[in-house]
């Protein structure tokens, strides 16, 4: 019988194919968190998250907003003295939490990612107004008004088309997606 993988091993395994060093190389020096422009909005700093993974604090990591607050600016990745691709680790944690369908209440990130995927699968292209419909309910009332104003402003400036574009060989495209993951028929 194979023993169940620890949480830390799961994450290390998921990051196996990345092009940085494994997170076990982390010195806990804090370069990532010292660099991060979004750290004030994270409940745990990126360095602390690495420590938590290594301590197998799975529930705490899944309940964290840290990786959903990552803007993928890669500043931590290029500075990390241990050569860890920390931005990629954030993606890995996003994937893990979506895979486990377990994330912090009130986050927009997971819904955003999911609707983004659905939209691309449906049209082959991304289109901002369609996206909005999925995540807008999560906004507070004030924000909703803001969003509507910004969107209207953009429409008036001719920055947004009224109808989304679709790619031509959409059927082929959807079959291609299906060969990777079985969500090709989502509508």
């Amino acid at each position: 019988m194979t023993a169940e993988l620890s949480f830390s091993s799961e994450i290390v395994n998921m990051m196996y194919a990345t092009h940085g060093n494994p997170i076990t190389n982390c010195l806990q020096c804090g370069t990532c968190s010292g660099t991060c422009p979004a750290v004030e909005f994270m409940d745990h700093s990126p360095r602390a998250i690495i420590g938590m993974i290594r301590a197998d604090l799975k529930d705490e990591v899944l309940a964290s907003n840290t990786y959903w607050s990552c803007a993928s600016c890669y500043h931590c990745t290029v500075r990390c003295p241990a050569g860890i691709d920390i931005a990629d680790m954030m993606y890995t944690l996003k994937r893990y939490s979506m895979w486990k369908s377990s994330y912090k209440e009130g986050l927009i990130g997971p819904d955003f990612s999911e609707s983004f995927v659905k939209m691309i699968v449906n049209s082959g292209k991304s289109f901002e107004p369609i996206l909005a419909t999925t995540y807008l309910p999560k906004f507070g009332a004030g924000q909703l008004v803001q969003e509507a104003l910004t969107a209207t402003g953009l429409l008036l400036k001719g920055k947004m088309p009224l109808l989304p574009k679709k790619i031509k060989r959409l059927k082929n495209f959807q079959r291609m997606v299906k060969r990777i993951i079985p969500i090709g028929e989502a509508s």
Binding site: L27, G30, G34, T35, V39, C80
Partner: protein, 670 residues
């Protein structure tokens, strides 16, 4: 004639026996290699112990063994031991073969059955090979009693004095105009805070006055010929434009010289010096150097102030570089380190933000003889900082730059913190990943700093900027860092930042290593013969290393290595002659076509070409037995003693178990 071979299988405690079934291997060798001449096969707990050696000697005498195969550790460790044991029993030592079933087998495998089979194959190879060994006699060459030391920092100085005091002659070569090295630039030394110059300059003076030391400053080694005991070294004495015979070091020339330039070397760019100069007042030797590229006379043909005022007519604008050759028996390399170039980390702002300083700049600044007379001030030369941030690990422990720990920065940074605190009363922040204080008195020094109230923030600094986000940050440098002990990003405003730049190998370390025929690590530090047991010798006989050239280290460790290297050299000198390994290449003149392919391949320049007879010949004293020429010779005219084609091919056959009676070949994994 059939050889009588004895096989000895070592357990090495559990090092080998933990994985390899040594009793089975021994039994097998006795049984299945009998056809190859094996008359006795034994296993023993520690073959290298005196009891183990006696076992071999007894068998040689009683059974009349003509060959011995020991299956144990790597030849690096115990080849000499077992050769000596054979010699003790009147068997030529080169008729003994040590095969490794530890490094090449038990340490690298976990499958016990396969490892046991592999041990059998390795021993089979050794047995097949040893039958073709020949009795060899070592080559004896005399050792020249003089020594060359390259590098006049504290490690080189220490080594030079030890050897010279023992009564032997030393040539000490230094690239800069004065000896003293980095230590001469420092103010205080940790952890005792004694003044660097106070403890260094007496030694420098001793070197300058010593009858057994020939001091060659402002000089470079350009060529090294020869081999242990008999090196011929060519040294280029750069033109000083000052006649050393006439100069009294009175100082009138540099007083009168009207030209000033920034001193990027000794003063780390913080101060200026004259164009004719000695780097610092206590310089040894006392003779100045004219900096020709900056000298008005050399550039425009005018001035000559120094010449006019020199009371002894010692200025000599016509002086030329001079090459001299010295003969020495041993060489010590003590060429030191370069500082990491902090500009490679742009986010720390050096060169862009004026109040960011390097550690060397700070050393000069805090030195009473330095450009600010020991006042710790901002770049404007007058403002005393109220807050100072000291950044550890700059360029060290970082895969983007140098992966290793520079080993001195923690203590150096603590020293800086103390000096700032003592002289300015400023708030001091140390930004560190780990505090490493592993030597005598170092932890106590750390305690002292904690008591002084220095702030310690655990976190590698992310960036230094001058962008204020709050009124408190206005007009300051801002150090952005995660305080990892509280898990928060902090922005700490300071007036001055000191970057503790790490140490790295000299920029030309690789070329110098090549010239002396030694090897460098990936980081270009010179590789010692053994990291624990032979830290100052190199793989090349007669070449020793001391100080930071071998890796980052502090003053006490450099001094210890300088002394250790000199002890090794003195030991060699006292031997008067040295026995060289007889493993050498030789050329069969009749088969040599004179193609000269081997001439340039030889890494030791040991092959000479006879123009008259159109054949090459190996100088056995220079040859190190590496085998490069043997493999390269298209005519197969070169053979290496100890590594003949016959020996190698039969060892391969043995490894493949091609000549074993029995069916074991199938049991051994491919």
């Amino acid at each position: 004639m059939t050889e009588k071979i004895g096989v000895y299988v070592c357990h090495c405690g559990t090092n080998i026996a933990g994985v390899v079934d040594v009793a089975e291997v021994s039994r097998w060798a006795g049984e299945h290699l009998a056809g190859q001449g094996v008359v006795i096969s034994r296993d023993y707990k520690f073959m290298c112990s005196s009891l183990g050696q006696e076992l071999i000697q007894k068998d040689i005498k009683e059974l009349g063994l003509t060959r011995v195969v020991v299956a144990a550790c790597s030849p690096h460790l115990h080849e000499k031991t077992f050769r000596k044991a054979c010699e003790g029993a009147d068997l030529n030592p080169y008729l003994c073969e040590l095969v490794s079933i530890r490094e090449q087998d038990s340490w690298v495998h976990t499958d016990e059955v396969a490892a046991t089979d592999k041990a059998k194959a390795i021993i089979s190879g050794g047995v097949a090979r040893v039958a073709h060994h020949e009795a060899l006699e070592p080559l004896r060459v005399p050792i020249h009693p003089d020594t060359l030391i390259v590098g006049g920092g504290i490690a080189g100085i220490q080594a030079a004095l030890e050897i010279a005091d023992a009564g032997f002659h030393v040539y000490l070569v230094e690239r800069e105009p004065s000896i003293g090295g980095h230590m001469a630039q420092f103010d205080k030394t940790f952890p005792t805070l004694d003044c660097s110059a106070c403890i260094l300059t007496p030694k420098m003076v001793d070197v300058g006055n010593h009858p057994n030391i020939t001091l060659l400053t402002w000089s470079d080694v350009v060529k090294v010929d020869g081999y242990v005991g008999n090196f011929a070294v060519t040294i280029n004495k750069k033109a000083r434009y000052v006649n050393e015979e006439l100069c009294t070091g009175c100082g009138i020339c540099w007083e009168k010289c009207p030209w000033k330039v920034t001193d990027d070397v000794f003063e780390a760019g913080l101060g200026k010096r004259k164009v004719v100069y000695v780097p610092f007042p206590q310089a040894v030797p006392k003779y100045p150097v004219i900096d020709a590229p900056n000298c008005a006379y050399f550039q425009k043909g005018t001035c000559k102030a120094c010449e006019k005022f020199c009371p002894t007519n010692a200025i000599d604008f016509k002086q030329q570089d001079q090459q001299i050759t010295v003969e020495v028996g041993n060489i010590i390399l003590a060429t030191g380190y370069d500082l990491f170039d902090v500009k490679r980390i742009p986010q720390y702002g050096y060169g862009r933000l004026e109040n960011v300083f390097t550690n060397l700049e700070f050393e000069r600044m805090s030195n009473a003889a330095g450009p600010t007379s020991g006042n710790i001030v901002l770049r404007d030369g007058k403002t005393t900082p109220k807050t100072v941030g000291i950044v550890h690990c700059v360029g060290s422990r970082d895969q983007n730059y140098n992966p290793y720990c520079s080993s001195i920065c923690c203590m150096q940074s603590l020293k800086f913190a103390h000096l700032v605190h003592e002289r300015t009363g400023a708030e001091v922040y140390n930004f560190y990943i780990d505090i490493r204080t592993p030597s005598k008195g170092y932890e106590e020094f750390y305690q002292r700093l904690l008591e002084e109230g220095t702030h310690f923030v655990r976190g590698k600094v992310a960036e230094v900027s001058n962008i204020a986000r709050t009124p408190e940050e206005e007009g300051h440098l801002v150090i952005q860092v995660e305080d990892t002990l509280i898990g928060k990003q902090r922005r700490i405003p300071v007036d001055m930042v000191i970057l503790s730049a790490g140490l790295q190998a000299r920029h030309d370390a690789k070329e110098v290593a090549k010239m002396f025929g030694i090897s460098c690590s990936a980081d270009n530090w010179y590789i010692e013969r053994h990291p624990k047991l032979d830290p100052v010798a190199t793989m090349t006989e007669g070449i020793y290393i001391a100080g930071c050239v071998q890796g980052p280290k502090d003053i006490p460790a450099s001094v210890a290595q300088g002394a250790a290297a000199s002890a090794r050299v003195l030991g060699k000198i006292q031997q008067k002659e040295i026995a060289l390994e007889p493993v050498r290449a030789s050329i069969n003149e009749e088969r040599c076509s004179g193609c000269r392919i081997c001439n340039n391949l030889c890494p030791f320049n040991a092959i000479l070409f006879h123009d008259d007879r159109m054949v090459s010949e190996v100088n056995p004293a220079l040859c190190q037995g590496c085998g490069t020429c043997v493999a390269a010779c298209p005519a197969g005219a070169i053979s290496g003693t100890g590594f003949s084609n016959e020996q190698i091919l039969s060892q391969i056959e043995g490894l493949l178990l091609l000549n074993v009676n029995g069916k074991l070949a199938e049991a051994v994994p491919a």
